[in-house]
Point group: C2
């Protein structure tokens, strides 16, 4: 199997100043070609470290993809390291990249300085894939078998994420032309409401019976629940895909409505799919979640088709005056109560004229809890023309984590309500 190493260069990553997102994009592209990424490495702007990291990657893998360290300033030394590693004799100025540099800088109204032109200079040991989105070209170094014990190719990509991602298509075609790539098939299903360990027990028999070439991964996330990913390398697409689908059908039978999607998507995207084209609308009334549910729902492009709005009723007078919650409810039961979230949900549905609504009221912490109503307690109300229901849960996180769990559980309750009522 063809393998690859992804290497990121730059002190800003090693000191924790920026998070490397390029490697995830590159590895997805490689995985889609059926190339196994054996490691990702980040190293600093030191010549010796860069060269030893790249040599080690080339010894162990067919392909090394390196990003970063190609800027015009003095602290960027990847190109120098690559020239040394490939034993280059001189620099060549690449005419295609040169033209792009002129075009980009003049479009920005900037003078073209020698420091900019020098970005088109590459070691004579590489071929160039022009970078249409930036000034630093993609360099391709092919190493003969004698050098690392096997044919090996190194691709040097710019570090700017937008440019690195933009170059990926060309890089992947070059890889396809040089290496035998086996396909990878994988499918992700989304579950919510069952902890990873309980899920693992629940499906352990199913998991134990998986064929040995199928691999299952658990990917827990507080906002989306546990993702389960089933994958196989190699074989024929139609055969492997139907083998995976068969297993997932069995899985769905075990998981029931805890499985909310057979695609890699969030609860809010799933809710959007349920609502789109139905003409049905939703609204939200949030106390403890403070707008987080609204922000999640509106993160989906096109959500204005079905999402009308929210009242974040942090203060009690907003609950009574805007949402119309009866003051007696607040006095008798308090804001964190079944009665209050039911009234909030009904209130926002009336106010906005939506078909469905959810409401939250709880204690995110750190302060404000009592024995009867501890920090981490949330009440969630869900309302439609047919019925209004309420649920309560307790979580033990910090403020941020509690708010996330409150919001995700509210979305899951809304999802279940939509599934029930829209299908009937």
């Amino acid at each position: 199997m063809t393998t690859a190493s992804i290497c990121t260069i730059g002190d800003e990553i090693l000191i924790g100043q920026i998070v490397d997102t390029n490697s995830a994009h590159i590895s997805r592209a490689l995985n889609d070609l059926g190339i196994r990424v054996s490691e990702m490495v980040s190293t600093g702007d030191r010549l010796a470290d860069i060269i030893s990291t790249l040599e080690s990657g080339l010894r162990k893998n067919d392909i090394v993809i390196v990003t970063g360290g190609l800027g015009p300033t003095k602290d960027d030394i990847t190109k120098k390291a690559l020239a040394m590693l490939s034993e280059a004799e001189c620099w060549k100025r690449n005419p295609e990249q040169l033209e792009i540099i002129h075009r980009i800088l003049s479009a920005r109204g900037l003078d073209v300085l020698e420091i900019n032109l020098a970005q088109a200079d590459v070691p004579d040991t590489c071929t160039v894939i022009p970078n249409k989105l930036g000034t630093a070209p993609v360099m391709v170094f092919d190493f003969p078998k004698e050098r690392f014990g096997h044919n090996a190719t190194l691709y040097s990509l710019p570090g700017v994420p937008f440019e690195a991602i933009g170059a990926l298509n060309d890089v992947m075609s070059d890889i396809r032309s040089k290496y035998s790539v086996s396909d990878i098939y994988h499918k992700t299903v989304m579950t919510f409401g069952i902890a990873e360990s309980a899920l693992s027990e629940m499906i352990s028999e199913w998991e134990d019976n998986l064929p040995s070439d199928m691999h299952l991964a658990y990917l827990p996330n507080p906002l989306t629940g546990v993702r389960l990913r089933l994958s196989i390398y190699g074989g024929e697409r139609s055969v492997q895909e139907s083998r995976i689908n068969e297993r997932l059908e069995d899985l769905e039978a075990i998981l029931g409505d805890a499985m909310y999607s057979d695609e890699d998507e969030t609860l809010e995207t799933c809710i959007g799919k349920l609502l789109k084209g139905t003409g049905m609308t939703i609204s939200t009334a949030e106390s403890c979640t403070g707008g987080t549910i609204a922000a999640m729902l509106t993160s989906v492009a096109g959500s204005s088709e079905y999402y009308l709005g929210s009242v974040v009723s942090y203060a009690n007078n907003v609950k009574t005056e805007v949402l119309g919650v009866d003051e007696k409810i607040l006095v008798r039961h308090g804001a964190v109560s079944s009665e209050c979230v039911a009234a909030m949900a009904d209130g926002v549905r009336r106010l906005t004229g939506s078909d469905f609504s959810i409401a939250t009221s709880g204690i995110a912490g750190p302060g404000g809890g009592s024995d009867a109503k501890p920090v981490g307690l949330v009440w969630i109300g869900v309302s439609s023309q047919k019925s209004t229901e309420t649920f309560s849960m307790v979580f033990k996180g910090d403020r941020k984590r509690n708010i996330e769990r409150f919001a995700a559980n509210a979305l899951n309750i809304l999802r279940k309500k939509l599934v029930n009522e829209l299908n009937n």
Copy 2:
């Protein structure tokens, strides 16, 4: 100088399904102790790969911090790899972690399964730092000089970011007790509204005149602006701190109100500090930001003292009926207009009875733009008893990034209004 390697374990990273954010947090903590991070490595869930990566890290560094692969499920094999690497003879069940596991699961109302209890099992070759936030303990392996040519320590942390970050304090104290760490003094100031490159030009003379032992780092973030961190290694605390403070006073004179704090804090925390104890209150009306501003403001503990609530008026009928925006404004100027955000801001202030308010309306994209009102355009209104003002800006990001920038800029406008009116 003491050096460290950070290692992340999990197929989900190598296939690009999740982005590793733990390493950045860990490297910041290590850098704060004056420990140089020499590399970051991600490897998959394969026993041989894990062991060889860790061995290589331990050979080259004093400290290796590894995260991930500690879940209860079968695909998580870090613990097994660590047992082999450290030549463990048996497993020990750690009583402190066991108690935490019981407490966490019972608080969640879950049964305690054998698979959960087994998370407290650790190789007999390690010591344990209990993980109070989750079920998998932190394991500490001390290797004698003979093994890797120098004393070396490996820390195994859970992969869940919340738990990994939560364990960092204890891990750093353990490192302090075992390795010579030089003290580091640093202070961060927060700026907003000036791009990194423009900021760098603006303060270049000040920066050039910094003493050679002071280091300046730029840490840009769309939600908080550019953080500037000034640091010195070693020396006497009181002397070094006053040297840093002197330089920062000069910096403040250059930056003016673009500098919003001399602590490492967010805009919403800064707004909270301005309001606390004044008896003044705020509210928000959000269209394009869809609850993001409310969520940011309420992420601050104690925000209920001054934050009354928000109307997320995604649909136009919520703007007119709940916020009282005149329909003529929507017809004549559209929802994305100066007139609309002014009316929204005034409306929500009236509705909630708050002293100050902000409102947003814009086009986050990807669709919905026009030549006159392109994707990325936002109008922001800010209102108080004294005056209502509006501002417009255009950003060029994707939907998520645009929403973040809209929200952060609205908070910054509110902050400036508060500074002006509360001080007069």
